[in-house]
């Protein structure tokens, strides 16, 4: 434990860990000192000179990202002199900045704009022509680079040096001709490339997937958890509902990592970041009985019908790690006595690395394990179906076609006397079931995922469900209620 010491910030006495950077200690007590180059995960090169503060006894202004807290330190971050120094640093940042905010995708979340409103607001004295550099560099599949907007804070180059160790970006040339460029022969296509967009304080690095789709001030931000793998990175879901005609009509505009020191730190992988594309594809919104002929049912009617099917026993429950803790818990109760199948098949297994990516590409197998649920193998299930030993096949958010192949899956599903498919999206095989129930996607419900280390994270509801979709656990509970009103539990 480091020693706690007292120091003064803007005349206020504050206690902090000895040696903690003043910029961090100030943030801890709600004082934001302007900065561009400093990033807690990428170090403090001290090149932007924005975080200048007055330190009593120091002959000249100090930068708070390189000043350590010590007993009796007396810091002024909002004195006239400190503010003037911060404003002048900002002015110098803007000497060669193109000020093309109206066409810049960073507008609304730009460090230059934010600090100009906060500490700048001066009349420009620049009468000279600005430097011209490359404005449209395709840095990689996900990232565009505009060298003119760049303020050379080196966050991105430090990210590819220290975090991914892939070195695709560097600062080349010298002085005012200096620019961030691709390392000769390299393309910014590492598995974490999207993070450079997040850490870029200005519009120099923008997201090719997101740019020009919707202005950021129209977006709503909701705390969520990435369902892309069993890491369960904390993310923020940025949704576009205020301007539905923007963003090609898609409701989710982008995912951004959310700082969580226990799970993902500041980062997320590109696979998770850009993995939301299929979220609204082939959405299920109606409660349907598909056979013998298609017919829309009320939730009550569907639950009663399914309850009576379940009463006959010989139930196989197929799910995946997409279920929330709440879903797993409700499923365990409803399907007590049924056989469970959720083990990840090759379609849910992918690459993993030492940074964040895990090989199980579903978020929540751990909760099933914690509840003591055991999964049978899908080969076993296929054999049971084939032999007519399964009467009710209940599938939640799992495309059997990706396990058995579309044709075989359809045939096997038809062997069960009654098939129930439940999920947010239709799949190739979902037409082969008798009942099809619409469930909410993770962004339309709140719940919890338990990651591979057993850490539980909550995700919040970001969007309204489509049609009459309900969370899986609510459907399970409604079926259980239907079972109980008829006085009998689901049989084995």
């Amino acid at each position: 434990m480091a020693k706690r010491v007292k120091f003064k910030l803007n005349g206020r006495e504050i206690e902090a860990e000895e040696g903690r950077l003043v910029i961090d200690a100030a943030k801890d007590v709600g004082v934001e000192i302007p900065h561009y180059c400093y990033h807690p995960a990428l170090g403090n090169p001290g090149n932007c000179r924005m975080c200048v503060v007055e330190v009593a006894g120091a002959p000249k202004p100090q930068i708070s990202c390189r000043t350590a807290v010590r007993e009796g330190l007396d810091v002024q971050s909002d004195s006239a002199a400190a503010k003037r120094a911060q404003a002048s640093a900002l002015e110098l940042h803007l000497v060669n900045h193109p000020l093309d905010c109206p066409v810049c995708d960073q507008s609304g979340e730009c460090g230059l704009q934010d600090y100009y409103m906060k500490i700048g607001q001066y009349q420009s004295q620049v009468r000279e022509n600005k430097q011209h550099k490359d404005k449209r560099v395709e840095a990689g599949p996900h990232v565009m680079l505009d060298q003119e907007r760049c303020i050379l804070c080196t966050r991105c180059t430090r990210f590819v040096e220290n975090v991914t160790k892939t070195y695709e970006l560097g600062v080349f040339r010298r002085g005012h001709a200096e620019r961030v460029e691709l390392t000769p022969g390299k393309v910014l296509d590492n598995d974490y490339s999207g993070n450079v967009v997040d850490i870029c304080p200005v519009g120099a690095l923008t997201d090719r997937d997101f740019r020009y789709k919707v202005r950021v001030w129209y977006l709503d931000k909701t705390d969520s958890v990435c369902p892309g793998c069993s890491r369960g990175c904390a993310v923020s879901v940025h949704t576009n509902t205020k301007r539905p005609w923007h963003n090609d009509g898609k409701r989710v505009a982008r995912l951004k990592p959310r700082y969580n020191p226990e799970i993902n730190g500041h980062w997320m992988c590109d696979e998770g970041r850009y993995g939301f594309g299929s979220l609204d594809r082939d959405r299920l919104g109606r409660v349907l009985r598909l056979a013998p002929r298609e017919e829309e049912l009320s939730w009550d009617a569907a639950c009663a019908a399914i309850a009576s099917e379940l009463r006959g026993g010989a139930v196989a429950f197929v799910a995946s790690g997409m279920l929330s803790n709440e879903d797993w818990s409700a499923a365990k109760t409803l399907f007590a006595g049924a056989k469970f199948y959720f083990t990840p098949e090759p379609d849910q297994i992918g690459a993993e690395d030492a940074l964040l990516k895990r090989k199980e590409k579903v978020p929540n197998l751990k909760a099933a394990e914690a509840l003591g649920l055991k999964s049978g193998s899908f080969d076993e299930l296929a054999a049971d179906l084939d032999a007519g030993r399964v009467r009710v096949l209940y599938v939640v958010e799992r495309d059997l076609g990706r396990i058995w192949g579309e044709e075989r899956a359809k045939t096997l599903v038809s062997r069960a006397a009654c098939g129930v498919f439940q999920g947010p999206n239709a799949c190739a095989v979902s037409e082969a079931f008798r009942y099809r129930l619409p469930a909410t996607a993770y962004v339309e419900e709140s719940g919890r995922f338990t990651n591979f280390e057993g850490k539980v994270s909550k995700y919040e509801k970001a969007l309204e469900p489509i049609g009459s979709a309900k969370p899986d656990w609510e459907i399970f509970d409604a079926i259980r209620a239907a079972l109980e009103t008829s006085g009998k539990g689901a049989a084995a």
């Binding site: 000179r49 009468r127 303020i151």
Partner: protein
């Protein structure tokens, strides 16, 4: 006048080992090697030797900040800063060409004092001839058995002015972009490859053979208070006899000018840049200033590396400021924003002023910009960017005013 470094410059073959040894060379090293390292440092402290690369930091005190091996284990290094790039400075070039062994002897003494087994001479890339002379001298010294306690390797710069700054020099040596580091830690604690490293200038190290041979007190006696020994000025500009002149610390500016033959053609003196273009100029009223680090500092400028540029009445302050700012903008490493953008901005404004487009706001704006740069940057180059134009503005406001009124 007493000379130390240039005393034997009349010897045509001083660069050869035999001549150097005949004139008492390597006696200081011999004496140093017989002493305990701490005693060598004590002798240098006694000498009042100051860092002659520009900063004027007491050399003995600098060595004293190298931590003991039980605190910071691993190798120690000594690096010679021979990246002489300051416009107006050319004394290291002469010292290396004429007396390479004097430097090598000094380097080997320093290595013994700080416990370095490896030393490096970082020489600017443009100094091809000097490199050849040094390479030959190093081989000679090694063959004669002088470098048994420490190796000497030569490294060549790639042309960046900023590499002459100690921490940028170390970055360059590590194969990186020449971006200055921000102390602390200082190089003597964490320098080359993170190990304690003493970076000393050519002239500083060249003084050591004398100090060890004749004693620190003898050296201190030559100079002024707290400024031991001599200093080598590179005198250029509007003088009759530009060249390298060695004088004791504390010599009057008037006398240095006299050595160089005075202002050319009997013209009136405008100002004297004392230490290389980065330093604000001294004025005619300063002619009786006794030149040493502290006196020049008190007069509002710096001794720097002794690159003395004399300007006569025909010089125009706007042209001079533009010339210097253009150089600084070209050589700014680009790491920190105030210097990178400020040097560009200054140069552009001054360029516009030179081309008949000055406005009344330009001078106050230049002063304001300068104030916003100096003291708010990573290294001394940035401080200079903000300092130079302001110095000329303050000393020669009429030259700037003239530009505005001449617009018509």
């Amino acid at each position: 006048m007493t000379k130390i470094l240039t005393k034997h410059f009349d010897e045509a073959t001083l660069h050869e080992l035999a001549t150097y040894e005949r004139l008492g060379g390597y006696q200081g090293l011999k004496k140093a090697l017989a002493m305990a390292p701490a005693d060598v440092t004590a002798e240098v402290v006694k000498s009042n030797l100051r860092g002659l690369g520009g900063a004027g930091f007491p050399t003995g005190a600098k060595w004293g900040t190298v931590p003991p091996t039980d605190k910071v284990p691993g190798p120690r290094y000594v690096v010679v800063n021979c990246d002489e790039s300051e416009p107006g400075c050319f004394k290291d070039r002469v010292l290396v060409t004429r007396a390479p062994h004097q430097l090598i002897e000094g380097l080997l003494i320093a290595a013994h004092a700080v416990g370095a087994r490896q030393t490096f001479i970082f020489i600017r890339g443009e100094y091809q001839n000097q490199y050849d002379v040094l390479a030959r001298a190093v081989a000679e010294a090694a063959a004669a058995g002088h470098a048994k306690h420490a190796s000497i390797d030569l490294m060549r710069g790639a042309g960046a002015y900023i590499s002459g700054l100690d921490t940028a020099l170390l970055e360059t040596m590590e194969g990186k972009k020449a971006w200055p580091r921000q102390p602390p830690p200082f190089p003597t604690v964490a320098g080359l490859m993170g190990q304690p490293t003493v970076v000393n200038n050519v002239e500083t190290l060249s003084m050591l053979p004398f100090i060890l041979r004749e004693g620190g007190e003898a050296f201190a006696k030559i100079g002024s208070a707290k400024n031991g020994g001599t200093v080598v000025f590179s005198v250029s500009g509007h003088v009759e006899k530009p060249g390298v002149y060695e004088v004791p610390m504390g010599t009057k500016l008037r006398d240095v000018l006299a050595l160089a033959g005075g202002v050319r053609g009997g013209r009136k003196l405008k100002c004297v840049i004392p230490g290389g273009t980065s330093m604000p100029p001294l004025m005619e009223k300063d002619l009786d200033l006794a030149l040493d680090f502290d006196a020049i500092r008190a007069a509002g400028t710096f001794l720097g590396a002794g690159g003395m540029i004399v300007l006569d009445e025909t010089a125009d302050a706007v042209e001079v400021a533009h010339n210097i700012e253009r150089f600084l903008a070209h050589e700014s490493c680009g790491q920190c924003t105030p210097c990178r953008e400020g040097s560009f901005w200054n140069e552009e404004i001054l360029h516009r002023m030179l081309h008949g487009k000055a406005t009344a706001e330009d001078a106050p704006n230049l002063a304001r910009i300068g104030e916003n740069i100096t003291g708010k940057v990573i290294c001394a180059l940035g401080d200079t960017v903000g300092m130079v134009t302001r110095a000329y503005l303050q000393r020669f406001p009429e030259d700037f005013k003239k530009r505005v009124s001449s617009n018509g």
